[in-house]
């Protein structure tokens, strides 16, 4: 196991979404399952936001020394059985579960969200879209909480424009679980007026009760450049970069 690289790398201008003036480039793992297809975008976005992304293959039993983990979008293991159901048993996911149990920050995007739900690291389940159609478009999200570690760059009530692209994003929780989520303030982003998949109570993003694991259907990694319509995704990915930096710089 190598030590986290925290040395200076000159030449990269500071990017929006980063509050720290530190030049350290925190390592953030991007887990690659067979069928993950947003790896390159996640990698690029993390790089732009000042991180040093490291790809971790699903068969790897250990994570390298990283400060955060991103589970990217795609169709891990072909989405066979249920989306995310097979990926949850990969060796890398056991390592991710240990990392999360140790307080490490984990962000699941789209298929990554589905994997986290199937793995029991996040509450709830994602079902086929109400329309049965694959949706691929920008949506507006309303920030419900900004006092959570992975939304620290946002403000409550803020509207974020971030694209969705999924066939199974209809979030479901039974009445008892929904009550727990509301009581614990674990619903942190909702679709604003335009629910693309029929998800319960317009839920787009939830966190675990500890707040270090977060999953969302929209794709922040596709929204880090105004040229592509929005850079609001930087606020979310920028937060995990910051948390990773803090974790790696914190005295052991």
């Amino acid at each position: 196991m190598t030590e986290a690289r925290v040395g200076k790398r000159p030449g990269r201008p500071s990017e929006p979404g980063l509050k720290s003036a530190s030049r350290a480039k925190p390592r953030v793992a991007v887990v690659v399952f067979p069928g993950s297809n947003d790896v390159a975008d996640a990698q690029l976005a993390l790089e732009r936001l000042g991180a040093d992304p490291v790809l971790v293959w699903h068969a790897d039993e250990e994570l390298p020394a990283v400060g955060g983990v991103v589970l990217p979008g795609g169709f891990s293991y072909g989405d066979y059985l249920r989306a995310g159901a097979i990926a949850r048993f990969s060796p890398a996911m056991r390592a991710v579960a240990d990392f999360a149990a140790d307080g490490g920050f984990v962000l699941g995007i789209c298929n990554g969200f589905q994997v986290l739900c199937e793995a029991g690291l996040l509450p709830g389940a994602l079902r086929p879209n109400e329309s049965l159609a694959f949706v691929c478009r920008d949506v507006s999200l309303r920030v419900e909480r900004a006092d959570v570690p992975l939304l620290s760059g946002c403000e409550v009530g803020q509207r974020l424009t971030i694209p969705v692209k999924h066939g199974e994003g209809c979030y479901f929780a039974d009445a008892e679980l929904l009550g727990q989520l509301e009581a614990g303030n674990q619903i942190v982003l909702r679709y604003d007026a335009d629910n693309p998949n029929g998800s319960l109570d317009d839920i787009a993003c939830v966190i675990n009760s500890e707040g270090n694991v977060m999953g969302l259907m929209p794709h922040p990694e596709h929204a880090v450049d105004p040229l592509l319509g929005s850079s609001d995704g930087s606020l979310i990915l920028g937060a995990i970069v910051e948390r990773a930096r803090e974790r790696l710089l914190a005295p052991a």
């Binding site: 249920r82 097979i86 079902r127 879209n129 329309s131 029929g198």
Partner: protein, 81 residues
């Protein structure tokens, strides 16, 4: 020993596939009030004792074949002849 697992969306869970099939059946003129679509898994279980086989399949359902939040399941065992 052969085992068949039937996995169904729980009552109250939105089943858009079932809705689409129901609408198509009505379109064809069938008097259908509801259609729900589940999944059938045929298994060949390496166990001679039905009790042991059932216990194994129960574990398979709990760990992988069904998501208890949204799906229910039934297990049927058939002794090979």
């Amino acid at each position: 020993m052969k085992a068949t697992v039937l996995v169904r969306p729980k009552p109250g869970i939105l089943d858009p596939q079932g809705k689409a099939v129901e609408a198509s059946l009505r379109h064809l003129g069938f008097a259908v009030d509801d259609a729900r679509i589940g999944r059938l898994v045929d298994l060949e279980v390496d166990a001679s004792d039905p009790e042991q086989a059932r216990a194994e399949v129960e574990r398979m359902c709990a760990e992988l074949l069904a998501n208890p939040l949204i799906e229910s399941y039934e297990i049927e065992l058939t002794e090979e002849t």
